[in-house]
């Protein structure tokens, strides 16, 4: 029995210790000074990330900063600072700070806003306010009280009164909802952070180059995107005005949607956005090539023939027909794997591969080089050669494919923030306490009150109310 009791006591002690630690943590986060420190720290550290260029290859840091500093940069994650653990930790602290402060301050505020009516108050209260006034009006207290009520109502105040027998106590209020502005703003910040977190876990960003006429399958979704056309608009001066792609969504084998996209005008389909992000000329295919026959004993080739990509074309004046099957913008040959590839996307050494047929029979599959005509014979053991004279490249359009389900949460957050700002900065909570007393032949009015911000407005309003009450003698 005593053992058990001891155990229980120990447990209670541990619990108490946890509770004490918990309340210490809670107390730590329930502090405006912490808010100030975090905000100023965030402001200062954010500067580093703008001075040190972000997400460069490590070699660039080495050449810019030297080995020693690069080590420091990598250690502190300054190369990707805004996603580093410590920057995230600072943001998390700010979020915790906001949550704790809201929990601590909002419920009592809410209660006092609901039960705010206090027309029974100590008369000494009035003189404690910075904004207070005492003046007398030559009229009976009941009439003066009515005037006070109508003056405040005219200014859109709510007002209640109690008393009688020559003494009235009144309480007037306006703009209570403005008090909720700061809470709305704080919640909106949490929403924006939440949206960013959702986006970083559930979203992705991808890039695809699509050839004109080609298509891409969208990852993890049941639809494809086809590029019908790509073109560039120019100003009269020759400067680029806009990049445009005409794209079609193909779902289940059917074309469901066609849209022209350009920079600033993405396609949005089933939660995924497609952005015009770059363009270029393909390195592994062309629209058409100009090919000509050349007799081996002649210097000049014959008339060029336009050969389209993957289409069989007869070469007039010969038994041959040709098909354009491969292209390499910057021809290179890998001996190990026996394959042709392109060293770069630039047309430094353009080459096309043809399939040459004699009737039905495939006789040769030569590579022809634009810059080195005739270095390899196109058809072995023949008087006829072929040369590659010109080509029309295939344009591709570079599209960013982007899914970010967090974006809508962020936008919701910004809308809440907008309302929060309107309430916090432009709706002021005003409270005024008033006593109307009979002082023999006239009445004395005492009033005083507070506004949560913008004292200018309040001073002016009170002045106007006092004028209205004291001026309107004998209606």
């Amino acid at each position: 029995m005593p053992e058990k009791a001891k155990e229980a006591a120990g447990e209670a002690q541990i619990k108490a210790r946890w509770r004490a630690a918990g309340s210490k943590v809670w107390y730590f986060f329930n502090s405006l000074k912490l808010t100030l420190s975090i905000l100023i720290t965030l402001a200062i550290v954010s500067i580093f990330g703008t001075v040190v260029e972000q997400n460069l290859p490590i070699e660039d840091y080495l050449s810019n900063y030297g080995e020693k500093w690069t080590k420091a940069i990598l250690y502190l994650r300054l190369n990707d600072m805004y996603h580093s653990y410590w920057f995230t930790a600072l943001l998390a602290m700010l979020a915790t700070n906001i949550i704790v402060c809201t929990f601590e301050r909002f419920p009592p505020k809410w209660k006092s806003l609901l039960n705010h009516k206090s027309e029974k108050f100590d008369s000494k209260l009035i003189e404690k306010f910075t904004n207070h006034q005492t003046f007398s009006v030559a009229a009976a207290p009941d009439a003066v009280k009515e005037r006070v009520v109508s003056a405040f109502k005219k200014k859109r105040y709510g007002i209640i009164s109690s008393g009688g027998d020559g003494e009235w106590r009144l309480y007037a209020w306006k703009g209570r909802i403005g008090r909720l502005g700061s809470d709305m703003t704080h919640i909106s910040l949490l929403l924006i952070l939440l949206g960013a977190i959702v986006g970083s876990f559930a979203g992705y960003k991808d890039f695809r180059a699509i050839f004109v006429g080609g298509d891409v399958t969208v990852p993890n979704e049941g639809f494809k995107l086809k590029l019908d056309k790509f073109w560039i608009d120019y100003y009269d001066s020759g400067q680029i005005k806009q990049y445009n792609s005409l794209v079609t969504v193909i779902e289940g084998g059917k074309e469901v949607l066609q849209k022209q996209i350009w920079v600033n005008e993405p396609l949005y389909y089933k939660g995924i956005r497609f952005y015009q992000s770059s363009y270029g000329t393909a390195w592994n295919r062309v629209e058409e090539a100009q090919v000509a026959l050349k007799l081996k004993n002649r210097d000049n080739p014959g008339d060029p023939v336009a050969v389209k990509w993957q289409e069989l074309k007869a070469m007039p004046g010969s038994p041959y027909s040709v098909k354009l099957v491969s292209y390499s913008a910057d021809f290179a040959y890998d001996e190990k794997t026996n394959t042709v590839f392109s060293k770069s996307a630039e047309a430094n050494n353009p080459a096309v591969q043809l399939e040459i047929y004699n009737g039905e029979k495939l006789v040769s599959t030569p590579w022809l080089f634009l810059k080195y005509p005739g270095i390899f014979p196109a058809i072995p053991n023949s008087d006829v050669d072929m040369v590659f004279l010109d080509f029309r490249g295939t344009m591709y359009s570079g599209l960013s494919i982007n899914k970010d389900p967090g974006t809508n949460i962020v936008w919701a957050g910004t809308i809440v923030m907008g309302f929060g700002f309107i309430l916090a900065f432009f709706v002021y909570h005003r409270r005024v306490w008033i006593i109307v007393r009979n002082t023999g032949r006239s009445s004395e009015v005492k009033l005083g009150g507070t506004i949560n911000k913008n004292n200018f407005v309040f001073e002016k309003e009170l002045k106007e109310i006092v004028e209205a009450v004291s001026a309107s003698k004998g209606e």
Binding site: L36, A43, S46, K241, V263, G418
Partner: protein, 294 residues
């Protein structure tokens, strides 16, 4: 180019006269000097408006697309904001400081190298118009006058900057005034309202600047999401706008905390405006990024 330049030159002269008149009013305390100063401030505002209008006519788009144009917008917004404040609160001496800021801004804008001034057609990323507005205007054939996120983003941001600029001027006044109040006796600072009022005015300016900067940042994010596919990419301009926003957020919270009002708040407001200056000019000249053009 010519017409806007003419108006710009006139504006420069008007701001010079306005600043001198306000200073005269501050030092000699003559009522007529103050009234003339206000009249000239208004004339300068009209003239600045004409610079923007002429510029829009010359370039065929809203005049918010390079550093020079945005400087004119900044000057316009600061002047408009100041005149509203003067109209509401009738403290004229403050004009001496605000109009000096205006004059310096005019000087800075006029000294900009040519490539920041020239009228350029909009590059692909800057072409953004609201479809609903184009649809609304198209029955009259006015759809080319529709505005978009670019215009909204720049405009709201610069209202924010203007609020901060005025708050900066007021914070400077506060620090000097606070000192002279503590010393007591007569001083040249007597022309200004008392330190507490200055502090409150400074807060009011930031209370306008802060939400407008926020709207500017958010509209920039919305636009970036259309143009580049992400609403936030930690571009130096974006980051600096956030830094500025953090500093002013600290200012607003500092006012609620005891011991942080007055002097410390004034220092925060000054730090905030220095961040704005860097955000606006420093980032454009020193740090590379998406906003390199303005």
């Amino acid at each position: 180019m010519i017409l806007s330049l003419v108006f710009f030159t006139f504006s420069f002269a008007f701001y010079f006269i306005t600043a001198v008149l306000y200073m005269g009013h501050w030092i000699f305390r003559k009522k007529w000097l103050g009234q003339t100063a206000t009249a000239f401030a208004f004339v300068a505002l009209m003239s600045t408006t004409m610079v923007l209008v002429a510029r829009a006519g010359e370039s065929g788009h809203a005049p918010f697309s390079n550093l020079y144009e945005s400087m004119v917008l900044f000057i316009w917004a600061t002047n408009a904001g100041y005149l509203l404040m003067e109209f509401k609160h009738k403290f004229k001496a403050i004009g001496a400081v605000v109009m000096t800021i205006e004059l310096l801004s005019m000087l800075a804008a006029s000294l900009l190298p040519y490539r920041f001034k020239s009228v350029e057609p909009l590059n692909p990323a800057l072409q953004n118009k609201w479809h609903w507005m184009m649809d609304l205007l198209s029955p009259w054939g006015f759809e080319k006058y529709a505005i978009g996120w670019l215009d909204f983003h720049v405009f709201t941001t610069f209202i924010g900057y203007a609020g901060f600029a005025i708050a900066f001027g007021l914070s400077l006044i506060y620090l000097v005034k606070n000192r002279s109040e503590q010393k007591g006796g007569r001083s040249i600072m007597d022309a200004f309202p008392d330190a507490k009022t200055i502090d409150e005015l400074s807060y009011r300016s930031i209370a306008w600047g802060f939400p407008f900067l926020a709207v500017g940042i958010v509209s920039g994010a919305v636009w970036a999401n259309y143009a580049w596919g992400s609403y936030w990419s930690w571009d130096p301009k974006e980051t600096w706008s956030l830094i500025t926003w953090f500093i002013y957020a600290a200012y607003l919270h500092a006012r609620v905390t005891r011991g942080w009002r007055g002097k410390r708040a004034a220092y925060l407001s000054i730090a905030g405006f220095l961040a704005v200056v860097f955000l606006y000019w420093g980032v454009s000249f020193v740090l590379p990024g998406l906003h390199a053009y303005a």
